[in-house]
């Protein structure tokens, strides 16, 4: 892709105190209209990365690096400017819609509030716009639903309402943090279809955070794989599934249960994620890596390109071998 990226994250490092660093030197881009997935397990730093882009980290977090959105570094903006940008140009969806919606206001109140913050209009016009938005995200009988309180809606419908709020200002970028994790699989499938449809209809770029490789396979164009605070691989979705270069990516793909082929014994990754307070020396994945060699303990391999569309942080990845040996 040659166009300028919509979002460009460089060397993002987030630490919460001197001992605990949640994200280390993360760099990735999201282009207009693109769906980039960030995949990783608990503690990989994927959600903290997303929160950093949203500017929603607590004040105690120490953030370095840069996060450019349409050329402006979000880390240098004032809270006021950031607030304006968020909601207008960047929409956000969280995992648990019940905690994001205010229980004492109706759905209609909350959507019209979002609509009018960014686009002053009469209550009546905002109400019409809200109906339109709910219709767009596939909520049946939208006009009646606007009168409902969040607790009267199912999890799937609540998440659709959240998406409607996020879309109220026609954002250029939608950040979705595990948006389908709390939902039943038939509802998850409906929401993934909805995300795809929104991209087609509005050209919204989406940054999707998930732990589920299957969700990636369904919707992502490009995927960033995180492990224990670092990006270990970045690739197009096809390269990632066909030619994973980092052993962690292969391990993750191997341990994902599938519906196709023989129901073989699952491949596993030995051991567990390292304790963030006592990280191993060298490559963070080395203690669990089936291919680890002594050199892996010497240094943390940087994320280096293998091809124009794929990078990996492994000294054994083809094309990096020479460099690692030097």
């Amino acid at each position: 892709m040659t166009a300028a990226p919509l979002l460009s994250v460089r060397d993002l490092t987030v630490s919460f105190n001197t001992r605990f660093t949640a994200v280390r030197e993360a760099s990735f881009d999201v282009h207009p209209g693109e769906l980039v997935g960030v995949v990783g397990e608990s503690g990989s730093g994927k959600s903290v990365s997303a929160l950093a882009v949203m500017g929603l980290l607590p004040p105690t977090a120490k953030v370095t690096g840069s996060i450019h959105f349409e050329g402006r570094d979000l880390l240098t903006l004032s809270r006021r400017e950031l607030r304006k940008l968020r909601g207008r140009d960047i929409g956000i969806i969280f995992q648990e819609p019940m905690t994001s919606l205010n229980p004492v206001f109706t759905i209609g109140d909350q959507i019209t509030e979002a609509v009018r913050v960014h686009d002053p209009m009469s209550r009546k016009a905002a109400w019409d716009r809200a109906t339109e938005l709910l219709e767009k995200v596939g909520v049946p009988a939208p006009r009646r639903r606007l009168q409902d309180y969040p607790h009267q809606l199912s999890g799937g419908l609540r998440q659709r309402v959240m998406i409607a709020i996020a879309l109220s200002s026609s954002p250029k970028l939608l950040i979705a943090d595990e948006p389908t994790t709390a939902l039943d699989v038939t509802i998850q499938a409906q929401l993934l279809d909805l995300l795809n449809q929104l991209r087609q209809d509005f050209g919204t770029a989406i940054l999707l955070i998930t732990h589920n490789m299957g969700v990636m396979a369904e919707v992502a164009d490009r995927v960033v794989v995180m492990y224990a605070s670092r990006i270990v691989e970045e690739a197009t979705i096809f390269d990632l599934f066909d030619r994973p270069q980092h052993p962690y990516t292969s391990g993750l793909l191997g341990s994902t249960p599938e519906l196709d082929g023989e129901a073989h014994r699952l491949r596993t990754i030995a051991g567990a994620m390292p304790n963030p307070a006592e990280l191993p020396p060298g490559c963070l994945f080395a203690p669990r890596c089936p291919r680890a060699i002594p050199a892996c303990l010497d240094m943390q391999p940087p994320l280096l390109p293998i091809s124009p569309a794929q990078s990996a942080a492994c000294i054994l990845a083809p094309g990096l071998v020479a460099e690692g040996a030097r």
Binding site: D184, V185, G214, I237, P257, A272, M273
Partner: protein, 335 residues
């Protein structure tokens, strides 16, 4: 014919629920309706469905943790409901459960040794060096080590805690373990480890599992037989291989179609299931699934389809199972 290890017949559970306001009459939530199945020794039955379908209630009914409204549960041919209390208490060591959330099911103030041996203490055993040694063996078996015996639950990761839960479940040498969403809360790489562990233990100890889950891809790796539940009823039951090759009930088809693909090349515009799961308090008439079913006809609105044999090996609760399976329903019903 030999007696199956577990035989469930017409199991039902109704919960009284308060009305919408204090004037409204009490309502009845029919969580489980006439569920019947058998589970043989060393077998795994995968019980799959979405939130509120009654799968967890079924598991608890079988273990007599809650009392059924109707129906019987036979364990080795003996009816648990009519069994004297004391005998049932002893029999409990043969039936164990692993919960979804190991954090919530392990007492944070107890050390691992106590936690694991709890089922034995409940049977009247007293702490001893021999039991401590046994607890150590159990930890080895589940991939932990005996040096963990003196630790507390908070010192472990989610995957390790689930291993402790498994060690506790196998401590009393059970024949049946109900795994209630036992791997659902775990990270993918840890989930795979625990699934493999459960399979190894099954082979080694001759266990039977009732594996309750919502993820068809996960259950496929461990079950021998599949049972699909929707709003309190089993809608389909079949040997695993046949089920995944061709689910017969329209709901099973939709459920399978909703599982994320395993490779981006398999993305396709699928027939998604529309609408949401209706409230179990007020389920649709006739076939519970008919409002969302693309094959539904008039009869589905009025007549409850019984779970019946469609082929010698499989059962489905659908008036048109044969047609749908034959592919005919695909054209007539969709139009």
């Amino acid at each position: 014919m030999t007696t199956p290890l577990l035989s469930v017949d017409g199991l039902s559970k109704e919960f009284p629920v308060a009305g919408d306001n204090w004037l409204a009459p009490r309502q009845t939530l029919r969580a489980v309706q006439s569920v019947s199945f058998e589970l043989g020794s060393r077998q795994t039955l995968g019980l799959v469905g979405e939130s509120g379908c009654g799968k967890s209630t079924t598991g608890r009914l079988i273990l007599q943790l809650i009392e059924p409204t109707a129906g019987t549960v036979r364990f080795n041919g003996r009816d648990l409901a009519t069994m004297p209390r004391e005998e049932l208490r002893q029999l409990r060591s043969s039936m164990q459960i692993i919960f979804q959330d190991p954090q919530a099911s392990l007492n944070p103030r107890h050390r691992v040794e106590e936690l694991i041996l709890e089922p034995l203490y409940a049977q009247g055993e007293k702490p001893s060096a021999k039991l401590t040694n046994y607890a150590g063996e159990l930890l080895d078996k589940v991939g932990l080590s005996r040096r963990h015996l003196t630790r507390f639950p908070h010192e472990f990761s989610g995957g390790q805690r689930q291993r402790i839960g498994i060690a506790r479940a196998i401590a009393s040498k059970p024949q049946l373990i109900v795994c209630d969403e036992a791997v659902s809360a775990l990270d993918v790489s840890v989930q795979a480890q625990v699934i493999n562990l459960l399979q190894d233990l099954q082979d080694e100890l001759g266990l039977s599992y009732l594996f309750i889950g919502h993820d068809l891809a996960v259950v496929r790796h461990i079950a021998d037989t599949m049972a699909i539940m929707y709003l309190g009823r089993i809608v389909e039951m079949a040997p695993k291989r046949e089920f995944y090759a061709l689910p017969m009930h329209p709901y099973s088809q939709a459920l399978l179609g909703s599982v994320p693909v395993s490779h981006p090349s398999k993305r396709h515009a699928r027939k998604r299931l529309e609408g949401e799961i209706p409230s179990p308090l007020n389920p649709p008439t006739g076939c519970h699934f008919h409002p969302r079913c693309r094959f539904a006809r008039d009869i589905c609105k009025v007549q409850v389809p019984q779970l019946r044999s469609v082929t010698p090996t499989r059962q489905a609760a659908c008036h048109f199972a044969e047609e749908i399976a034959a592919g005919e329903g695909l054209t007539t019903g969709a139009s």
